[in-house]
């Protein structure tokens, strides 16, 4: 991502997924263990879904 600082699109996606997953885990679960599990699953699903959609779109990109 171009701006005042440089952040690649993939790094931006990972950062977004990480921060949103942590916040949602904190807000939706009551125990530390449940928060960690929720945040980890949320992060994995964010990245996994984005990569899956990217590969699905790959044949149409050229």
């Amino acid at each position: 991502m171009d701006g005042i600082f440089h952040l690649s699109h993939f790094a931006g996606m990972v950062t977004f997924a990480l921060l949103v997953s942590v916040a949602l885990g904190c807000l939706s679960q009551q125990t530390a263990r449940a928060r960690m599990i929720y945040a980890t699953w949320s992060f994995v699903l964010f990245i996994g879904t984005a990569l899956a959609i990217a590969w699905l779109m790959y044949p149409f990109s050229r």
Binding site: M1, G3, G12, L27
Partner: protein, 151 residues
């Protein structure tokens, strides 16, 4: 002396009455403080949880919301004006306002203004909106904790 007075003299009854009175007072104090906690949670993300002694949650919420908002501003994401002909612009403004203090300092970071002609600025707009919505959830969570509906 009636039956009630006899029961009130019993030590267990006195303790129960004191606890009941204490819980009523605590509930009253909670209801009085809830609006202030909600405003604090909105102005500074995570502050509501810190005031309610949820230290870890408050710090994590602050880091998450601050990270999203600052990255969004540094990527030159759009900060929506209060008045807009587009309903999505109004929703964007509401999401931006929900970032609290970060909305106030947006113009200090984005000195050259937003740039959504490139993908980076567009992503930045989403980062800021996500930060606002997460802070809104945090405000609602802090409000629920203050009212005793959540732990």
């Amino acid at each position: 002396m009636n039956e009630t007075e006899i029961h009130d003299d019993h030590p267990d009854q006195q303790v129960a009455a004191a606890e009941a009175g204490g819980s009523v007072a605590a509930a009253g104090a909670r209801q009085f403080l809830t609006p202030f906690i909600c405003v604090a949670a909105w102005l500074v993300p995570g502050l509501g949880h810190l005031l309610l002694r949820r230290w870890g949650r408050g710090l994590l919420i602050f880091c998450a919301v601050a990270g999203l908002a600052l990255i969004g501003f540094y990527a030159r994401g759009q900060v929506f004006p209060p008045t807009s002909d587009d309903p999505f612009g109004t929703l964007g403004f509401l999401a931006d306002v929900c970032t609290g203090v970060f909305f106030a300092i947006a113009h200090l970071i984005e000195k050259t203004g937003p740039d959504v002609s490139r993908a980076a600025g567009d992503y930045g707009t989403r980062f800021v909106a996500a930060a606002g919505l997460l802070n809104l959830l945090a405000v609602l969570d802090a409000c629920g904790i203050a009212l005793g509906r959540r732990s």
